[in-house]
Symmetry: C3
Subunit: 471 residues, 3 copies
């Protein structure tokens, strides 16, 4: 049996009819606004090369840890899903087998955002009209595969079709940004910029840290063995990114800890870091100091700072050893902001010309720490519901738990934060719908006027992200 696939126009809107009607109108007013994606993990070479995506499995399963972690959690091996292989290592038959295996387990996603994103991609991007099941898997594979061979499904064509006004990728300071240069030189009108993510050269526990810092020195022409040279090198690469259009930095630290140490303490820490003779506590202190230094540089060069703390990366030891990073085994941990950020805030917290956007994986901090902080400090803004919480219920909780204390104007619109390119319109669509639903409730409970809700939905969709990220 093949069921019809048709996303309902009212999806995600509250059932109560007055609320739904208002949600519909609010959503309609922003449904066609361009997508601004200021933070994500797509590959800029897609847009530089504009080569076709290899096949459905490579496009939709292999890079999407949201997808394969769920199958893995139910006993499907990563090997059987082709994780760790490249398209070249897989025969078309193998890719098709993996797709069918995925289809067979598609019911596992019921009630999850992955299901909503995937159905959107299937119907709205690829025009499929039946539900994905084991029996339609072959039809799906063929159809998507055919699409991918056509011009309209090349990365740039999709970028345009998705109505993307701007897309930010994320790169290491060591990255020459060749793809970004190539995009710019190509004359294509699509705006793809980078964000400066210095983890490999500022986290002493990052694989290859010492070599990375050496390379940073070479790239920048600075002596990165001295603290001042090291800072100049970091600033030099920020300028390199900024010149190519980047407007932000991004920091994926384990915690939100910041510090304000003396230069001699910093030099001593750097010495230990480069010799890889650091305790875990010293490495934490090093990273803490880096955040404060990055804030100082932001005041100089105007880059907006993003902090994404609280993920225990690569929690599954054997999966990490066999398959590497980003395999669905990053697990959130309790995160503290109030004491952790104080050193940085004592220094720069009152500067309205500095922007630090805070994210969290620990929802207990929304109302307790993040909203009160953002509702006071001029430099702080709240990033949207992140990662596991980038979902209908997660977005609802974010709004309900932060709005009353931080207001809506201390938030920065939506981030899709994805490496799954075709899911970008799906994710922004969910965010617009959930914001419409939230505002509709405020209207129908007479907490704001309907005209205000119309102003707000546009701000949440478009204006706030542009101003917060200086786009």
């Amino acid at each position: 049996m093949t069921d019809h696939l048709q996303l309902h126009d009212d999806r995600l809107f509250p059932a109560e009819s007055a609320t739904r009607q208002i949600a519909r109108e609010l959503y309609a007013s922003v449904a066609d606004l361009p997508v601004i994606s200021p933070h994500g993990h797509t590959d800029p070479s897609w847009f530089a090369d504009n080569a076709p995506f290899p096949d459905p499995t490579e496009l939709l399963i292999i890079p999407d840890h949201y997808v394969f972690r769920m199958l893995y959690s139910q006993g499907v091996s990563l090997e059987s899903l082709g994780i760790g292989t490249t398209p070249r290592e897989r025969s078309p038959q193998e890719s098709r087998r993996i797709w069918t295996l995925f289809a067979k387990h598609y019911h596992l996603f019921r009630g999850t955002p992955s299901r909503m994103w995937l159905d959107y991609v299937f119907e709205k991007v690829f025009g499929l009209q039946v539900v994905l099941t084991a029996s339609t898997a072959g039809q799906y594979y063929d159809h998507i595969d055919d699409c991918l061979k056509s011009e309209e499904f090349r990365p740039r064509a999709l970028f345009e079709r998705f109505n993307i006004e701007l897309l930010a990728t994320t790169e290491s300071p060591l990255d020459p940004l060749a793809s970004h240069d190539a995009i710019q030189e190509s004359g294509w009108s699509g705006r793809v910029i980078s964000a400066y993510r210095p983890d490999p050269v500022v986290d002493p526990e990052f694989d290859g840290f010492t070599a990375n810092v050496g390379q940073l020195g070479e790239l920048s022409g600075e002596n990165t063995a001295t603290w001042s040279g090291y800072l100049r090198a970091l600033a030099n690469r920020r300028a390199y990114f900024s010149k190519r259009g980047a407007t932000s930095t991004d920091h994926g630290h384990a915690t939100a800890q910041t510090a304000d140490l003396s230069t001699s303490e910093c030099q001593a820490l750097l010495d230990k870091a480069l010799k890889q003779q650091m305790t875990a506590q010293e490495a934490e202190l090093f990273r803490a100091q880096i955040l404060t230094e990055m804030a100082a540089m932001s005041l100089d060069d105007g880059l907006v700072m993003q902090l994404h703390p609280g993920s225990f990366r690569n929690h599954n030891r054997s999966v990490f050893e066999q398959f590497g990073r980003d395999k669905g085994a990053d697990i959130p941990v309790r995160t503290e902001y109030v004491r952790a950020l104080k050193p940085l805030l004592d220094k720069f917290g009152n500067r309205a010309d500095f922007t630090l956007i805070l994210f969290t994986l620990d929802e207990s901090t929304y109302s307790r720490e993040l909203a009160p902080l953002a509702g006071h400090y001029p430099c702080l803004r709240l990033g949207p519901a992140w990662w596991f919480h980038d979902s209908p219920e997660g977005m609802r909780r974010f709004r309900e738990l932060t709005t009353e204390t931080a207001g809506l104007y201390n938030t920065v619109g939506f981030n899709d934060d994805t490496r799954a390119f075709t899911s970008i319109p799906a994710r922004h669509d969910v965010a617009r719908r959930m914001d419409a639903a939230f505002l509709a409730r405020l209207v129908v409970e007479h907490r704001i006027q309907e005209a205000e809700a119309h102003e707000l939905i546009r701000s949440l969709t478009y204006d706030l992200v542009k101003s917060a990220y200086k786009l």
Copy 2:
């Protein structure tokens, strides 16, 4: 004045009419499915002996710390409620006086699940038709007392009337399971199995630990003074339980800490434990190691492992000294899972042939830790909302906070976890209604199809518990 008692057919369903209609249909499809109770604390001797329950007070008040803690919190003394007395020590007049005292305070339960469970028991189990108040207390007492004297209210008759397909009790490894044997030998068709709860022989801080371990040695014929003998003894008793139908173990540790120590470290800890010369930290480490050992044994004997951490037991010192354990003074504390479980998960986390069911009293871990863990590790499943959270709002939060990341198939249906036998159908009824309400919202917001919701409600009610607990 006596108000009519009549549970509404739509209780717990959302008010919005489309949602309510779908919830009704979903609920109707599972309302008559048999009850599977894989985890609880009823007394197997009830079913072995099949003796009448003594009186209303003994049945419904004395053993139910949910009930008397609320009265106690409002200044009713435990003595006046007969806590700590046996039916033989109480005259019928005294039991009736206690019942009336309870009735006089029945309004305290407004808005609590106890109120819903009790009203269900009154109406559906005992056929009462007026609301319990001080003035109907006598009528209640007489009616229930009469019922209890009849054959239809003997434990086995109720078990059958409650449509219980399977009921698991919880026993210590030192328990000979005589009642379970008696039930089996009696030829009665009711299926009552045990679960292996080793706290008395694996927690060095448990009352009588050293003597308990000695007894364990005798029962198993092993030398429990050596680590290897101690482990063999624990495994031996697991086999004893398993042979009598048990399919699971249960662990009520203070934290979720696990460990992976060398044999010599384990022997040293055991030596100290048996001499009762342990620090609190060493006792914690001992218990942590035990969890990893239990996981190893589960891989051998197939018993499903349950972890119930995070309760500060017997928080009220003087109540504990005067009245003992389980007197409503167990208070949840903050609980950490991500770092705590890593030693065990590093060892066995990727084994799909091992099942570890996690419970929590700390709802802040649902979306932050438990759902991400269960949405990745093949061995992990999420137990239902537990204890204080086994309530309409608690169940709703459980679904809203875990589904999007862990999905529904990494959960295991409902546990009633009760020692209040007559409340079992009431509790399962609440769970079925709340799942119906949750799924109805997903349908009406067009997040899943109605046909899917019908499949899911059956899975959540019946299929998942059978497969997760290997029943």
Copy 3:
């Protein structure tokens, strides 16, 4: 353009029509009940002197850190808002300029409780009929300023118009309560009492602690250098407050830590405290001991004890240095109750003649710690949603997260906790509406009867606060 300002009669009620209808009826039954405000920070001299409030800016902006922190978070300087100035230091033009600046940013409050409170004050207290915007700012200023010059807007007249049955202020033990005496002697019928807030004389880290304790000795005629004399001095001032009508004490500690030390330990701590030679840990222990001593005194003198822990005060260093305390920079931190309160509860927890009302800024403790504690210990009650959580969503979460475990009778009605006098009726109105909305949902989901909801709404509005605070 000037929009009409008109608070909707159904504001804050759920949209679903059956629920809304019940909420309306419940609310209507308590809308006109007198306001009891057992905990707040208004200035008793207002009612003693009954002088006109100086101007709109001084009344509504300068003292309200809810208001100016939001503007500050969006880059409006505190200087430009007149923070730190007195009416005498500001020209009328300056006050008007500040008001206009505030009006220009009024959209920032969309979705916040401040917006609801302010609109209520504008419409219901001052009779304004257009929405506040930059263009109506002048009209607003003139109108409110005119009102303030009239007799009907003097503090006592407003007190009466607000239908306040009782208002508690908060004072230090060093305060002579001259305003309270003046009110009593004036023959005015308004009941304004104090609450005993000993932070300045019991927190070794409070500014001027040693001098404060010296002054305490003088006021009480006790030798506060000895532990016993110090305790007698504290008790002496409690009696002074009690004699003037106070029925409660209030404790604003950083944590909920309590202790039960020997007298010699206490004396040693006091010695260090008075010499200001304490570590942070010793200061914490001192405060912990004080809480237990205060509980002991409550058993003697019957004062109800309130604990408000978990605020990191004056988090913004430079704002504190320039502008002082209470400038919107107090940020909640994670708070632990279960282990922290045990020493005190071990001693007095089972005394039904003692009342300790617990508040929190850490909502993760509602269901995990506070409701289980209050649902067991006879001395404990739960204060209402506090500070940042004194908002529609915050109140809803408080009820949803505490009711099932603690019941409704272990709560104590509403506290407005405000220094913004004119917002008092607005805040109580929000609380009554949110309780009506919560109870209406219970009714419509058939969890309680409608008649019960009518009893409950009155208890939550009026009865419980009177009994809990012994008013």
